[in-house]
Symmetry: C2
Subunit: 344 residues, 2 copies
């Protein structure tokens, strides 16, 4: 099923995943292109953002911070879309907007969730470095991590959409930055292109020992977006007064039960106490009102001056979204993962 102007292809949740999603958990459907009512716009998706948080929304139980995806309903997701018909006074036909059309070619909106994509070039940046993932890096690192010059900042998933920005901002703030990511090529990119001070390949053995060597002064900020073995390697190296913004724990999103013991919850508590560590979860949706403007202003300068570089991992075609998303959960992307659904 390729894209047309007359059919709305959409990818719906066919089954709730058990652990890592499989292609059969998704279904590509064709439905009619909807008609905008008065006060609505019809959007055509140009870019769809794929992000790890979507995995949680596919589950039937467990805590989520956005509405779950119902069985049979389209997968949700942020998009850059073109307004192709407008019955809304604020939007004109032809303009590009940031919205939440989800995994489909067309969608309606009443405009309340739309933002103009003015002067952002390429417009897909509104989904990445100038959008949710860049903003996540900015708020988590600066408002919770609060790196000081000379601090050691460790970033997992360092070549990913969030991690790469975290590390570059930390460098701008004078910190020493150690990345962790999967594979030699990503490590080389992070050091050679993005200017991290060091990067460790998490696929190589003895991660904990190598991390200890790479952080001779301990760790002052750990930006947590992975969990699992990376966190296990980080925990004993955290310094007194360390800050741990918790942005995601992708290593656990597919867990169906708790892992075997011993129970290390008290160990984490006692480490937080003895080392006076601040560990704080955050969800970027909470911070738009108060911080988005400052973020946009700073990030536009950093991008213009090439102090922050961004890398997109683009997949062409809506039908490839499920496989790309599954790969994202396995760490197969390299940079901000986007699906180009239609030409902009």
């Amino acid at each position: 099923m390729s894209q047309t102007d007359t059919v709305n292809r959409r990818i719906v949740l066919a089954a709730r995943p058990r652990g890592l999603p499989v292609p059969e958990d998704f279904r590509l459907e064709q439905v009619e292109v909807p008609e905008p009512a008065d006060g609505q716009v019809l959007l055509r998706t140009a870019f769809l953002s794929l992000d790890p948080y979507m995995r949680n929304l596919m589950d039937e139980v467990g805590p989520v911070y956005a509405p779950r995806v119902e069985l049979g309903a389209p997968m949700v997701g942020a998009t850059v879309s073109r307004v192709i018909a407008s019955r809304h006074p604020r939007f004109r036909e032809g303009e590009l907007v940031l919205g939440n059309a989800g995994w489909q070619d067309f969608a309606l909106s009443d405009g309340s969730d739309l933002l103009a994509v003015d002067g952002i070039d390429p417009p897909s940046l509104a989904l990445g470095g100038l959008g949710m993932t860049g903003f996540t890096a900015y708020v988590g690192l600066l408002d919770i991590g609060a790196p000081k010059p000379g601090d050691t900042v460790v970033v997992a998933a360092a070549s990913g959409a969030v991690g790469a920005v975290v590390g570059q901002i930390a460098r701008l703030k004078g910190a020493r930055v150690v990345g962790i990511c999967g594979g030699e090529e990503k490590c080389r990119y992070v050091v050679d292109e993005l200017g991290f001070d060091a990067c460790l390949d998490r696929h190589e053995p003895e991660l904990a020992a190598r991390l200890a060597v790479a952080c001779p002064d301990g760790i002052d900020v750990y930006f947590e977006n992975v969990g699992g073995e990376v966190f296990d390697a980080v925990l004993p190296l955290l310094n007194i007064g360390a800050r741990v913004p918790v942005c995601g724990i992708i290593a656990h999103y597919n867990d169906r039960t708790l892992r075997d013991g011993p129970d290390r919850l008290p160990l984490l508590q006692s480490t937080l106490l003895q080392k006076r560590i601040r560990m704080q979860g955050f969800v970027i949706l909470d911070h738009y009102a108060e911080r988005f403007e400052a973020f946009r202003r700073d990030m536009l300068v950093w991008l213009r001056d090439r102090q922050v570089l961004l890398r997109e991992d683009r997949v062409d075609g809506l039908e490839k979204a499920p496989a790309a998303f599954i790969g994202l959960l396995q760490g197969r992307n390299f940079g901000k993962l986007l699906v180009r659904v239609a030409e902009t």
Copy 2:
């Protein structure tokens, strides 16, 4: 061995405890009363403070935030002492000072760790409500917990030296306060005397279910000084944006190994993330310079106006310190535990 003016009785660490300390881990010794050199004062202990943190300092390994007690050395501890001989220009014979003489009748000091106990009546308050434990409650609750009017604040060890003050300050800030402590008598005291809104006896069955009933709007601040089953009951009730100052985890101080699984460390991480919780350990020694003055000012007013009530649990005689300390770790004290070593 009773107290005399010519012998220094001191309680030393005889053996490193395996789990809960036993009386044989301590030894009462008699040594000569030391002579002050130039620039020193000789102190005679009036009150010795007994506090849970001392348990950690008795271990050979594991993280500590103050120097460990060496085998054969006197147990450490804060004291209110009288200066009985002074070769130091800042201190005169006869005055009472707050210091760190440890578990002994006499000690020398160069004055650098001494504070005058001016106008504090009774002077033992300098070790409790107007000293370390009150200050711990103040900083942890206000600076990390940040209760807002209408918030639900849960305090474990609610009749203890720290918990009782936490709950009363939280009430002053307009929060609804639910205490947890061991035994019906303590619960009654916390509600009837201290004005907590509710208190649960942790020895009764079904703590988690009872806590859920007592906190119909969830928990906004949990002041952690216990860990163990109390934290297990609290965790699922924490609200979005909750704050968890971690002051102590007395339930685990005697653990010799991690408890059986499953491993709930990832569960704690994912709860912090999904609920945007700030969990932060703190050690009160870090905060004297910046916050002690404000604490003293506020607390003096609250005590004068009887907005904060304090209860001391006094034990008479240095030789009783080991048994009292073991009881403290078992929750047998009722209020701030002090040893009266000599008449003031």
